[in-house]
């Protein structure tokens, strides 16, 4: 009987494929959010597994903050072209120009501005389901989020009033103007993602591997020096071998010192890591409930 067993990665993969197919079967106009980051790279592989030899039954959408690592954008374009799938890009820059998003004075991170930009893009294309690569292990507020996470006409999540989610029976019913965020990787951990990248031999942007970079010490983290982030007087600036664990804006993505040259090295490092992944994102550090506040507003 043991020959009929699935490993934990195979079980997670089967679950994610089922979720992807369920979305396509139940919604009129789904879209897959693709940033070029490691979770969304796994999402693309899972979409290949779910729908090949046919083309993806949805386009890819990236919300570009304009503050991204250039390596990430190159990778994004290259991967979409390689797969022959349609990529839509909507920018925060554009949303600011059109008055869809409004910047708060003094705010350097553009993470918050992604939300109105995303909601406007969903409305523009009348998307009714957005597939995202978020995982429940990333953060406490996410730990309670459903796989099919309902958003009202304002794009808001109501954590106190979530639909019960039983077995693998997902309630996909919505009214016009509402939409669903769907998270096929809900039950994956950071380590699962890396093991999957290794198993599937997936290409990832070079910044996930150790590389030499000028970084500045701020709020207990090493942040990359860039035109958007210049060291202040008396701040410690070093050139180190670093890599990123999770990719956000270049202005708030912490780098960790690392010698990892390949995916197997990264897995070894993670298995021994003492800081969680989001601990390296400055925008989550502001308050204990930072993530929950952003999610209520419709952040992914």
């Amino acid at each position: 009987m043991d020959t009929y067993a699935l490993s934990h990665l195979e079980a997670l993969e089967a679950e994610a494929i089922h979720i992807l197919r369920e979305v396509v079967a139940e919604f009129q106009r789904p879209v897959l959010l693709f940033s070029g980051g490691k979770d969304s790279i796994c999402m693309l592989r899972l979409a290949e597994k779910a729908f090949r030899p046919a083309r993806f039954p949805f386009p890819l959408l990236h919300i570009d903050t304009g503050h991204n690592f250039p390596e990430l954008l190159d990778f994004r374009d290259h991967r979409a072209a390689e797969l022959g799938e349609k990529l839509i890009v909507r920018t925060v820059e554009d949303a600011l120009a059109k008055g869809i998003a409004r910047a708060t004075p003094g705010e350097s991170s553009r993470n918050r501005l992604q939300t109105p930009t995303l909601l406007a893009a969903l409305e523009e294309f009348k998307f009714d389901a957005a597939l995202g690569g978020a995982r429940r292990d990333e953060e406490k507020a996410r730990a309670k989020e459903r796989v099919f996470s309902f958003r009202d006409a304002f794009g808001q999540w109501d954590p106190k009033n979530q639909r019960p989610e039983l077995w693998n029976l997902y309630n996909a019913r919505i009214n016009p103007g509402e939409h669903m965020r769907v998270f096929p990787l809900s039950n994956w951990t950071e380590l699962d993602i890396w093991q999957y990248i290794l198993r599937e031999k997936l290409d990832i942007p070079s910044i996930y591997f150790a590389h030499r970079r000028e970084v500045v010490r701020r709020d207990g983290q090493w942040l990359p020096v860039s035109p958007l982030l210049q060291p202040k007087p008396r701040e410690e600036v070093r050139t180190l071998d670093v890599r990123v664990r999770t990719i956000g804006d270049i202005s708030c993505t912490g780098c960790i010192e690392s010698a990892a040259r390949n995916v197997a090295d990264i897995i070894t490092e993670i298995a021994a890591a003492r800081v969680t992944e989001r601990g390296s994102r400055a925008d989550d550090k502001r308050s204990e409930t930072a993530m929950e506040d952003r999610k209520r507003e419709g952040y992914f």
């Binding site: 009987m1 043991d2 009929y4 067993a5 699935l6 490993s7 934990h8 990665l9 195979e10 079980a11 993969e13 089967a14 679950e15 494929i17 089922h18 197919r21 369920e22 079967a25 597994k49 779910a50 729908f51 090949r52 030899p53 046919a54 083309r55 429940r136 292990d137 406490k140 507020a141 730990a143 309670k144 954590p159 106190k160 639909r163 019960p164 989610e165 039983l166 077995w167 693998n168 029976l169 309630n171 919505i174 009214n175 809900s186 039950n187 951990t189 380590l191 699962d192 093991q195 198993r199 298995a271 021994a272 890591a273 003492r274 800081v275 969680t276 601990g279 204990e288 409930t289 929950e292």
Partner: protein
Amino acid sequence: MNTTTANDTSELLRFATAGSVDDGKSTLIGRLLFDSKQIFEDQLEALERSSDLTGDGRINLANLTDGLRAEREQGITIDVAYRYFATPHRKFIVADAPGHVQYTRNMVTGASTANLMIVLVDARQGIIQQTRRHAYIAALLRIPHLVLCVNKMDLVGYSEKVFSRISTEFTAFATRLDIRDIAFIPVSALNGDNIVEPSTHMPWHKGPPLLRHLEEVYIASDRNLTDARFPVQYIIRPYSDEHHDFRGYAGQLAGGVFRVGDPVVALPSGRASRITGIHTFDGPREVAYAPMSVTLLLADDVDISRGDLLVRPDNLPTLGQDLEADLCWMSERPLQLNGKYALKHATRNTRAIVRLLRHRMNIDTLEPEAAPTLALNDIGRVRLTTLAPLAYDSYRRNRQTGGFILVDEATNETVAAGLIVDPPQVAPQAASDGGYAI
């Protein structure tokens, strides 16, 4: 030194936890994560920063799992939270479900996918009403393994007598339920006794500590590998020159094993065909088994669509429009008898009318009782009629083809979890519920 690495061939165990407020559920989970080294430095920092919120000054392991702000403020867990940890043997998904009566629906949600449930009791209080309710739900949802954790043993002097009194009482109660496997473990979540390491305070306990039990409990035979069931989820048609004739039936096996060459029948239509290929992105397969997601290729260009169930002709489910089922009611708005609901069963969406409420279960006495309707958190036996015929098994036989949800068509709210029971054996004719379509 580090126990965090599950290698990529380790098995997945999903478990749910249940207990009353203050029995120490959050502490227990925090302890499992802490002792298996899943708590990271920044989380510890955040815990230290927020420990003032609870006033007792010391690090509160429970804060690690109590996620949402409202819960933080009220100091209670109100929704299912999912947690993850791994040892070299297994990877674990924990559904941390709230315990109060008014959150029965959240518990049912957490329990629906679990292989195992941990029911926690406070050693000073022993078995209480709540414990019986939790065990009943575990049995109702057919969770194959149950662990009764008698917590706070430090507060009863680590007394063997207290532990065996509680175990005996629970065993007596559990014989009235249908639970396959029960383990009893005396623990102190706060001090870590019998969580990861065997407790030095309780040498009289011969069984393994909790984590080892979770690593070793045998789950391979929990899946139904007997009844081949394939709910067709989506049809793959590439419409490209290269794959001009490709027509694949995509889905996740809900039970059993399918092989290339197997004869199959599509229900409800009853059309017969044969499997000519099992397609996956990683190449063709000879055999597929639950719960794999694959794409089946069939010999004939039969008319099969989403919602159909492919089975083997020598092992058929029941086909019919009249079902007996237990409903766990999950909405503030009570069940409308003779009202219409949307029903989702496997991959089929249809509508249903609940014709009759046979009884409501009194989950304190475990006795059925007459009731006019089902309100939030009630569980009751109903008879319902579906608009389209369903191909189903009893929930007892297969959790996938025996479970369904009801959705309110006006609010789109999920209002009930349904568990199909075998129809009452009236006459042989009636029992087959209209008979098979072939």
